[in-house]
C-alpha cells in the first residue's frame, strides 16, 4: 500500500493502564491497612505456627490468666492460648479462600452462560438463582453439612456452592452490557464460537467486578467458616480454629475466664476487617 497522507498523533499520556491500577491500589490507605492485617495472619499461618505448640497441654496450669509465660493465658486443658490463636489462622486461611475461589469460578461460568444465552436458559437459571438467594445462606450451609457430614472438603463445597448464585448474578449483569458491544459482533463475523467469545473476548472485560466480588466474598467466607465451626459443623478438633475455640470455651465466660474467648474473637474480627478493607480499596480502583 502506498499512501503518504498524515501519520496519526501519538496520543497524550501513552502509558500502561495495568501499572496505573497497581499504583492507585498502593495509594489507597484502606487497601494498605487491610493488606498489612491479612499478611500478618498469613505469616502466622505459615511461618509463625511452626514456632508455637498449640497442642502441648499443661493441665496443672489450666485456665491461667494472661501472664509473661502465657501472653493470652491458657484454656481448660492448660494449652497456651497465644499458640492456639497463632495456629488457628491456618485452617481458616485455607478453607475460606478455597471456598471463595470455588464459588467465583462456578459463579463466573454460570453468569457468563446466563448472560450470553438470553432466552430460556437464562430465564430458568435466573429463577433458580433467585430461589436459592431467598434462602438464608447460613441455614443452607448448615443443612448441607448436617446431611453430608462435616469435613474441610464439605465445608469448602458447601460455602462455595452457596456463593455461586450471588456471583453468577453479578457476572450476568456485566455480561449483558458487554455482549451488545460491537467487538462481540466483530468476533461473530470472524466465526468465533460461543466458548471463545465468552471466555476470551468477554471474560477479561468483566474481570473488575469479579475481582471486587471475590474480595467481598472472602470476608463473608471467613465469617461463615468461623460461624459454622462455632456451631460445630465446620472445622473439627483438634484444629485450633478460632470459631471452634470460642465454641469450646464460651461457657467459661460466666466464670470470669474472659481470656479464653476474647483473643480468638479479636482474631476473627481483625481478619474480617482486614479483608473488607482490601475489598474497599479494590472496589475503589475497579471503578
Amino acid at each position: 500500500m502506498s499512501t503518504i497522507s498524515t501519520a496519526e498523533p501519538e496520543p497524550a499520556g501513552f502509558r500502561q493502564p495495568r501499572f496505573e491500577r497497581t499504583r492507585l491500589l498502593l495509594r489507597s490507605p484502606a487497601f494498605l491497612c487491610g493488606m498489612a492485617i491479612l499478611l500478618f495472619w498469613v505469616f502466622c499461618a505459615t511461618v509463625g505456627q511452626s514456632y508455637v505448640d498449640p497442642l502441648g497441654d499443661d493441665i496443672l496450669n489450666a485456665l491461667a490468666p494472661p501472664s509473661a509465660d502465657h501472653w493470652f493465658g491458657t484454656d481448660q486443658l492448660g494449652r497456651d492460648l497465644f499458640a492456639r490463636v497463632i495456629a488457628g489462622a491456618r485452617d481458616i486461611l485455607v478453607v475460606a479462600p478455597l471456598a471463595t475461589v470455588l464459588g467465583v469460578v462456578l459463579g463466573t461460568t454460570l453468569g457468563l452462560v446466563m448472560g450470553f444465552f438470553p432466552g430460556p436458559i437464562d430465564d430458568i437459571v435466573s429463577r433458580v438463582v433467585e430461589a436459592v438467594l431467598a434462602l438464608p445462606l447460613l441455614i443452607v450451609a448448615l443443612i448441607a453439612l448436617t446431611a453430608l457430614g462435616t469435613s474441610n472438603l464439605t465445608v469448602i463445597v458447601a460455602i462455595g456452592l452457596s456463593f455461586t448464585p450471588l456471583i453468577a448474578r453479578t457476572v450476568r449483569a456485566a455480561v449483558l452490557t458487554e455482549r451488545n458491544l460491537d467487538y462481540v459482533a466483530a468476533a461473530r463475523l470472524r466465526g468465533e464460537n460461543a466458548l471463545h467469545i465468552m471466555f476470551v473476548e468477554i471474560l477479561p472485560n468483566v474481570l473488575p467486578p469479579i475481582v471486587v466480588e471475590l474480595t467481598v466474598r472472602l470476608g463473608y467466607a471467613i465469617f461463615t467458616v468461623a460461624t459454622l465451626s462455632f456451631l460445630g459443623v465446620g472445622l473439627q478438633p483438634p484444629s485450633s480454629d478460632w470459631g471452634l475455640a470460642i465454641s469450646e470455651n464460651y461457657a467459661l465466660i460466666g466464670g470470669g475466664y474472659w481470656w479464653t474467648v476474647l483473643f480468638d474473637a479479636l482474631a476473627i474480627a481483625s481478619l474480617v476487617i482486614g479483608v473488607n478493607l482490601i475489598a474497599d480499596g479494590v472496589a475503589g480502583v475497579a471503578e
Binding site: 500500500m1 497522507s5 496519526e8 498523533p9 460491537d182 466483530a186 470472524r190 477479561p204 472485560n205
Partner: protein, 677 residues
C-alpha cells in the same frame, strides 16, 4: 453582523487574559492560556476547534463549573460588569439562576430522570419567584414556544420517555425560559438528526432574536457555526489563534490552523474521484507549555525559524479580525499536506455485473406481539469497487440493513441476497466470512479493550486469512503500514489510542482477509474533522487498491457525497430514492431527500430551508400510504395518505418513490456539504 467590537456598555461577556489549568497527577496542566474575548449584547459568538483545544473548558470556566481539579489561574471573566472569578457562592448561585444558563451536549444528562418534565421546567420559574400556578402556565407557554406539540402530555412524561430531539428542546426551553443575559451552548445539536438539528438551531436563533440574548456557541461542526454565529474565535491548544466575523473568516481564513480545518471538509459537490482531502499533519501537543514559539508551528507547513522562536501576538487585521500568525497574509496559500491527485480517477463502469444484489429484502421484528417492519421491500445492487451511500434519519433502518448484509441478523424469508451471483447465507455460520466485513461507528465499542492491537489484528488474520506464525506477522505489518499505524502501537491496548488510531485498527481488522464488501457504519462520526479527512483518504486509497465495495452509512451528507458513487435514501424502512450520487444531489429530489439536503447547515442555508414537521413516526404504527406523507411538505392530496407510490425510475439508474411527477420536483436545493471554501 458586528464589524467592530461593541462599545463597553453593550458587552454581555468579557473574558480577559484567562488561564485555566487542570491538576493531573500532582502537576498543573495548562488548558487555556491568555484567552481574550468579548460578546456583545444580542450577539452569537462561536468558539471552534478540535477536541482537546479547550472549548468546553472555556464554557465551564465562564459558569465557574470547572471540574474539581480545574482552576482559574489568572484573568477575569466579566458578566455584565461583575467579575465571576471573585464572586461569592451566593452571588454565583443567583447568577446561574437568573442571568446565565447553559445547554450541554447530552440532554439526557441535563434532565433529572426522576422528575416529570412539567415540575422540572416549572422550577425555573418558581426559583425566580413565580407562584405555583403562574409557573404552570408559563411552563406550558415555553414548551409551546420550543414547538413541542401537545405540551400538556409532554409535561406528564419523564425525560426517558422523550426522544433525544425532544429532550434537547426541553433543555433549551429551560435555558431560555427566563430572560437571560447570556446563554452558553456546548455542542447543543451533536447527536441529533440533521432535520432535528436544523429545527433546534432555528429555534435558538428565533429565541435569541426575540430577547436579544447573547450566545456563546461552542461547536466542532463548522457548518453549524457558520450558520449560527456572527463572530467566531478559533481555539487551538488553549490559545485563541484567529478571531473575526464568521463569513470573512470562513471565506478567507488567515491562520494556517483555520485554513487546515476548512480544507479537511470535502468541498461542495466534490467526490473522491476529483481530489484527495487535505489534512492537518501531526497532532495536538500533549503539553502546550513545552512548545516554544508559535503553538501551531509543529504542524504548520509554512513554519519558519521565527515561528519556532517567538510566539506571535494576536495581530489585528482590521475589520474586527485578528490572527496569531507571523505570516497571516500567506496563510490562505498554505501548502497542502497530502497530494491532491485522487486515488481513483474513474468510477466503476455501468456495464460491470453487480457484486451484491439485494432483492425484496424485508425485516420484521416482533414488538410485544405486533410486527414491526424495520425494512420493507428493499432492492439494491452494488458493483465491485463501488461505494453505495446510505442516508436517512435514525430509525430509518440503515443499521438493520447493514446487520443483515453482515449476517448478524437474518432477513425475512423471501428476501434474496446474492454476492457474486451466489446466494449469501443469512447467518455467518455458513458463510465465507472473509467476504463481508464492517467498520463500526464507535471504535471504543468495536475493539476489545482487554486485548492488544497485535492480538486484535492477529486474531482476525488467523480467522479470516487463515495465516499463522511468520506469514501472519509479515501480513500484519503490511496491513498496519497500509493503515499508517506505527509499529509501536501494536503492543498498545485500545484505551491508550486516540479515536483516529482506534478507527485505523478497526479498518485494518476489516481488511485482514480479502473482503469484497466492507460496510462502513458512520466510521467518522466520532472523529474530529482533520482525523475524519485522513480516515476518508485511507478508505478511498484502500478501495482503489483492493477494489473493495463499500456500503457507506452516514448522516453527514457532505461525507456521503465525497465517498459515494451512488446514494440510497431510506425512510422508515422504505427505499425512497436511489441513484448516482451527483444526480441525487442535483435533483429532481424526492421531497424527503430535499428536506435532508436543505437541513445541512451552511451559511446560505436558511433561506430555502424545507422544514419537516414533527419526528419520524413510530415503526410500530407506520403511516398508511406513502410512509412520508405525515411530514411531507409537498403532499399532493389524499392519494399520498392511501396509496404507496412505486419506486419508479426517473432517469437512468435514478429511481424515486413519490406520486409527484418528475417535472414538479425541485432541483438543486441549498447548501450540500458544509462550508464553501
Amino acid at each position: 453582523m458586528t464589524r467592530e467590537p461593541p462599545p463597553a456598555d453593550e458587552i454581555a461577556l468579557r473574558v480577559e487574559n484567562l488561564d485555566v489549568a487542570y491538576r493531573v497527577r500532582g502537576r498543573d496542566r495548562s488548558v487555556l492560556r491568555g484567552l481574550d474575548l468579548q460578546i456583545g449584547r444580542g450577539e452569537t459568538y462561536g468558539l471552534v476547534g478540535e477536541s482537546g483545544c479547550g472549548k468546553s473548558t472555556a464554557a465551564m470556566a465562564v459558569m465557574r463549573y470547572l471540574p474539581r481539579n480545574g482552576r482559574i489561574t489568572a484573568g477575569r471573566i466579566l458578566i455584565d460588569g461583575h467579575d465571576v472569578t471573585l464572586m461569592p457562592d451566593e452571588a454565583l448561585r443567583r447568577l446561574r439562576e437568573r442571568s446565565v444558563s447553559m445547554v450541554y451536549q447530552d440532554p439526557g444528562r441535563a434532565l433529572n430522570p426522576s422528575i416529570r418534565i412539567g415540575p422540572q421546567v416549572a422550577e425555573v420559574f418558581t426559583l425566580v419567584g413565580a407562584s405555583e400556578s403562574e409557573a404552570q402556565t408559563r411552563t406550558l407557554d415555553v414548551l409551546r414556544r420550543v414547538r413541542i406539540t401537545d405540551p400538556e402530555r409532554v409535561m406528564e412524561r419523564y425525560p426517558h420517555q422523550l426522544s433525544g430531539g425532544m429532550q434537547q428542546r426541553v433543555v433549551i426551553a429551560m435555558a431560555l425560559a427566563v430572560e437571560r443575559k447570556l446563554i452558553i451552548l456546548d455542542e447543543p445539536t451533536t447527536g441529533l438528526d440533521a432535520t432535528v438539528e436544523a429545527e433546534v438551531l432555528d429555534l435558538i436563533e428565533a429565541l435569541r432574536a426575540e430577547h436579544s440574548t447573547s450566545v456563546l456557541f461552542i461547536g466542532h461542526n463548522l457548518g453549524v457555526i457558520a450558520r449560527m454565529c456572527s463572530r467566531v474565535g478559533v481555539l487551538y491548544a488553549g490559545r485563541l489563534v484567529e478571531e473575526g466575523p464568521t463569513r470573512e473568516i470562513f471565506a478567507e481564513p488567515r491562520h494556517p490552523y483555520t485554513v487546515g480545518l476548512l480544507r479537511c471538509l470535502p468541498r461542495r459537490g466534490t467526490s473522491r474521484l476529483d481530489e484527495r482531502l487535505d489534512t492537518i499533519p501531526g497532532f495536538l501537543p500533549a503539553s502546550p507549555m513545552a512548545v516554544s514559539g508559535c503553538i501551531f508551528h509543529p504542524r504548520c507547513a509554512m513554519a519558519q525559524d521565527i515561528c519556532r522562536q517567538t510566539e506571535p501576538p494576536l495581530i489585528g487585521l482590521g475589520g474586527g479580525r485578528s490572527s496569531r500568525c507571523h505570516f497571516h497574509a500567506d496563510a490562505p496559500h498554505l501548502p497542502r499536506s497530502t497530494r491532491p491527485d485522487p486515488a481513483v480517477r474513474s468510477a466503476v463502469s455501468e456495464a460491470d455485473a453487480p457484486l451484491l444484489r439485494v432483492e425484496d429484502l424485508g425485516k420484521t421484528f416482533d414488538s410485544g406481539g405486533h410486527p414491526v417492519h424495520a425494512l420493507r421491500d428493499i432492492s439494491l445492487h452494488l458493483r465491485s469497487g463501488e461505494t453505495l451511500g446510505l442516508v436517512g434519519e435514525s430509525g430509518s433502518g440503515k443499521t438493520t440493513l447493514a446487520r443483515i448484509l453482515l449476517g448478524l441478523i437474518p432477513p425475512d424469508s423471501g428476501s434474496r441476497l446474492l454476492l457474486d451471483a451466489e446466494s449469501l447465507p443469512p447467518l455467518p455460520a455458513r458463510r465465507n466470512l472473509d467476504a463481508v466485513q464492517i467498520v463500526f461507528q464507535n471504535p471504543d465499542s468495536a475493539l476489545n479493550r482487554a486485548h492488544t492491537v497485535r492480538r486484535i489484528i492477529g486474531r482476525a488474520l488467523e480467522r479470516l486469512a487463515k495465516l499463522r506464525g511468520r506469514p501472519m506477522q509479515e501480513r500484519m505489518l503490511q496491513l498496519t503500514h497500509g493503515v499508517q499505524l506505527a509499529d509501536r502501537y501494536l503492543s498498545a491496548k485500545p484505551r491508550q489510542l486516540s479515536g483516529g488510531l482506534k478507527q485505523r485498527v478497526a479498518i485494518a481488522r476489516a481488511f485482514a482477509g480479502t473482503p469484497k464488501l466492507v460496510v462502513c457504519d458512520e466510521p467518522t462520526s466520532a472523529l474530529d474533522v482533520s482525523v475524519q479527512a485522513a480516515i476518508l483518504n485511507l478508505l478511498a486509497d484502500l478501495q482503489a487498491e483492493r477494489h473493495t465495495s463499500y456500503l457507506f452509512i452516514s448522516h453527514d451528507l457532505g461525507v456521503v457525497r465525497y465517498l459515494s458513487d451512488r446514494i440510497a435514501v431510506l425512510y422508515l424502512g422504505r427505499l425512497m430514492e436511489v441513484g448516482p450520487a451527483e444526480r441525487v444531489f442535483r435533483g429532481p429530489h424526492h421531497p424527503y431527500t430535499e428536506a435532508l439536503l436543505s437541513a445541512v447547515p451552511g451559511p446560505d442555508g436558511t433561506s430555502r430551508r424545507v422544514i419537516l414537521k414533527g419526528e419520524i413516526p413510530s415503526a410500530v404504527r407506520p403511516p398508511t400510504g406513502c410512509a412520508f406523507h405525515t411530514r411531507c411538505p409537498r403532499r399532493i392530496g389524499p392519494i399520498c395518505d392511501t396509496e404507496e407510490p412505486p419506486l419508479s425510475e426517473r432517469d437512468a439508474g435514478h429511481a424515486i418513490r413519490c406520486h409527484l411527477a418528475t417535472v414538479e420536483m425541485r432541483r438543486e436545493t441549498t447548501g450540500a456539504a458544509g462550508v464553501p471554501v
